[in-house]
Subunit: 289 residues, 2 copies
Amino acid sequence: MAQPEPPVFTGLFSVNGATRLYGTIGDPIRQLRMTGIMPQVFAAVGANAVWLPFEGGAPLLQLMLDGLRGKLRNLAGFTVTIPHKTAILPLLDRVSPRAQAAGSVNMVKRDGAQLVGDIGDGLGFVRGLEAAGHRVHGASVWLVGLGGVGGAIAAALCEAGVGRLLVTELDDARADAAVARLSKFYPNVPVANVDMPPKGIHYAINATPLGLRPNDPLPFDPMMLAPEVLVAEVIMSPAETPLLQRARTHGRRIHHGRHTLDHQVPIYLDWFGIDAKGIDIVRLVRSIP
Amino acid sequence: MAQPEPPVFTGLFSVNGATRLYGTIGDPIRQLRMTGIMPQVFAAVGANAVWLPFEGGAPLLQLMLDGLRGKLRNLAGFTVTIPHKTAILPLLDRVSPRAQAAGSVNMVKRDGAQLVGDIGDGLGFVRGLEAAGHRVHGASVWLVGLGGVGGAIAAALCEAGVGRLLVTELDDARADAAVARLSKFYPNVPVANVDMPPKGIHYAINATPLGLRPNDPLPFDPMMLAPEVLVAEVIMSPAETPLLQRARTHGRRIHHGRHTLDHQVPIYLDWFGIDAKGIDIVRLVRSIP
């Protein structure tokens, strides 16, 4: 059955006294992209809601949680970005196994009397990969970087049933902690630290920040991988990092960071209990520059 | 010099990561009108800001003050409506004499390390009266109702130098407290409680809620006043209350509640330090339905 066309949207919206408040907490928050995306999604699904930047350091966490617990009654929930994703986890009443395995939370809402958290970053990545035709279940994956995003992707990959997860992280303590968490929550998935680009993998994923700045070194050289390995990126800006450029110009298959964003928004709607009304949210988000 | 024309505005706006958050705290807050007005004002003066409803009971006050003190760094300030205008006063570091005399605060911002409050309700009323050609300095005024709005108007009238202020308030304790506050802060203005429509006044002001509902009794009968007395209203909706209707249809001069709203917005901009860029804000607000 064909899905209904999303309505034409101008990027502008209105607020009234009954508007529900959503947003993202972070420090800094000026880089926030969701304020350009969520109004269009809310308008498409007919939700009277606004997406806001909430900027502040560590004391903002408890403030927002107090607000969500009922002090600010029209605060409906929020997402979490750098540097709060790990610090907010122990402040919540209930956290999904996926978020515990990732060691971070990026979605917070109230469920009855409880404040609950989950991580959608890695799930968005996995859904983007699968939507592009790349099967995750049973695959052998090399993941480079086990920071916030890397840890979330690792957990989502394990939950999606990868056959084998190889990880590379320069910070040994961080790597050991991440592998221990993954092994605890996903004991059936073999996870191993590796130093070099490994053999026999299907996907190589950059989850480090290398590529955000023009003069960053490559996180790894895609030419050291077997030709059939898909090279995937988490960085969205630039749209095509030097890693992806090098892989593509040498005829390798690549997967852009933007897919994660496109697939994250339906995860947000699910999490916050906002009915998508049958609209193809991924297509809508993809149409936003 | 002619003031620049305000730009055409659609009532819609956008938010990004650098948008500053303003709003109104109240309980309930669904009736809030400023969300329909302030975006147009912000757009006209080129401020990257949004006006939000913040709904909650007593615990919301400290939450918002903590946020304003720095926990929520992009919270730029807020206004206060029912039922918080009196309760928030003692929670602030510094409150204007006008607000102390009124016993209520409706504007809160941060000034350096201090949280400061003022009351703009009465000032908006006085400015609206003067802009309509009704001189306040030296006038004899009868004010009916000394609740939140009435107390604010009383303080603003005293500050503007009325010659005499006569007040009528059914709640004796409230009346005594209000008169005591006014006498303390404005010792040069004679203030007296009166029961009946007094003689020798220039303006009679309804500051009670009577007239909000269709079947409310009149707060007073304008026909018992001398024919030259101006009958003024604080109620904005309905635009013309039964009090004003009765006065107008009998040839009396009237002053609508809407004037206060129109004149309150420039007071907000001043308070929050937002440059109006020479735009006639009153005219802009008046053009909004």
